[in-house]
């Protein structure tokens, strides 16, 4: 997904780390990784550790980190948009206008990454980066622990018990699409994008599924 960007910028001190939030494990992610023919890092995060550390809630989300290891943009949607919500579900197609807007938004995001690498533009000052960080609450912390336990139980043949922990985690942190969709996928591959997913997306109303980055 990011290979072109990486090829273009790798000689300018730039690195891409793609992290698969994939509780089914490396073999489940492998076909996508091989198809991407990427030369940047492709890492496997079965327990969603990165999401815990950085308080991420969906994929794709990105964090920009500078040469000193400092966060210069808080977690934000990495190139995806909400146009899919208006897609014709029978034919799985978008209107040409939506398709064009979607590609333009993605291009604008990629251009912002390029500008950051080339000139430092779009790196935020510390106060703005801080202001954009999502706050971890005790409910979120509990949800993360229950998610961790639920995934462990699931992978140790205790599916029913694991599912209960995962369901409680989603109730405690309803904003996390990753928790809900990962749990659905563990239950059955495909369920994460099935009718229940679309009902949850519809229930968002005017709220975004992919909040646009504030570039």
């Amino acid at each position: 997904m990011w290979q072109q960007l990486y090829s273009e910028l790798k000689d300018k001190g730039f690195m891409v780390v793609a992290v698969a939030e994939e509780s089914r494990g490396a073999e489940h992610a492998r076909p996508w990784i091989e198809q991407a023919k990427s030369s940047y890092w492709q890492l496997i995060d079965t327990e969603h550790r990165l999401e815990d550390l950085y308080n991420l809630v969906n994929v794709p989300q990105a964090i920009w980190i500078d040469e000193q290891g400092k966060i210069v943009r808080p977690p934000e949607t990495a190139g995806s948009t909400d146009h899919f919500r208006r897609m014709d579900l029978k034919t799985r197609t978008m209107s040409p206008e939506d398709q064009a807007e979607r590609l333009a938004a993605r291009q604008a995001y990629l251009d912002a990454v390029r500008a950051w690498v080339n000139t430092g533009k779009y790196a935020l000052p510390a106060d703005k980066t801080r202001a954009g960080l999502p706050k971890v609450t005790p409910e979120i912390a509990e949800a993360r622990a229950r998610f961790r336990l639920g995934v462990w139980l699931r992978t140790h043949d205790r599916a029913a018990e694991g599912d209960r922990q995962l369901a409680t985690a989603s109730k405690l942190y309803p904003d996390s699409w990753s928790m809900w969709r990962q749990a659905a996928d563990l239950d059955e591959v495909g369920k994460a994008g099935g009718p229940e997913f679309w009902q949850r997306v519809q229930a968002l109303g005017d709220k975004p599924y992919y909040p646009p980055p504030k570039l």
């Binding site: 780390v17 994939e22 040469e67 622990a145 229950r146 961790r148 990962q182 996928d185 994460a192």
Partner: protein, 129 residues
């Protein structure tokens, strides 16, 4: 044998009556050491209620709650998840030093963010689901 899941590791300890265990097991599983002033890690010490320490034994569930972190048990209390306290996560992020992580690549080779110091790093998530 009781299994303790922390945000980054899994430990096996000998526990009884919930998460009562030896101070040695507690230190191995949590990184906090029992001292007269409480449970300590580096310069920080968390005073322990008298009811949560008996000789060399410590109630790690009580300690974890005192620390402000979630301690979640499986139905039969044979597996526990000790989550990071919310305030610990917030403080780490607000400092803006990108929290380090080590994750395997698709062939199992571990990679750490800290290996990339000196580069601009774009960390992006994805999933098959």
């Amino acid at each position: 044998m009781t299994i303790i899941l922390t945000p980054t590791a899994q430990h096996e300890v000998t526990a009884h009556d919930g998460l009562w265990m030896s101070a040695a097991d507690a230190a191995r599983a949590t990184g906090w050491t029992l001292k007269p002033e409480g449970m300590c890690r580096e310069a920080a010490c968390v005073p322990m209620p008298a009811a949560a320490v008996k000789g060399d034994q410590v109630d790690v569930a009580a300690f974890w709650k005192k620390l402000g972190g979630p301690a979640i048990a499986s139905d039969t209390r044979d597996v526990w998840a000790l989550g990071a306290p919310a305030e610990e996560r917030n403080a780490a992020l607000e400092g803006l030093a990108a929290p380090d992580f080590t994750l395997p690549d698709v062939d199992g080779k571990p990679r750490s963010l800290s290996q990339l110091r000196g580069k601009k790093v774009f960390v992006a998530t994805w999933a098959s689901w």
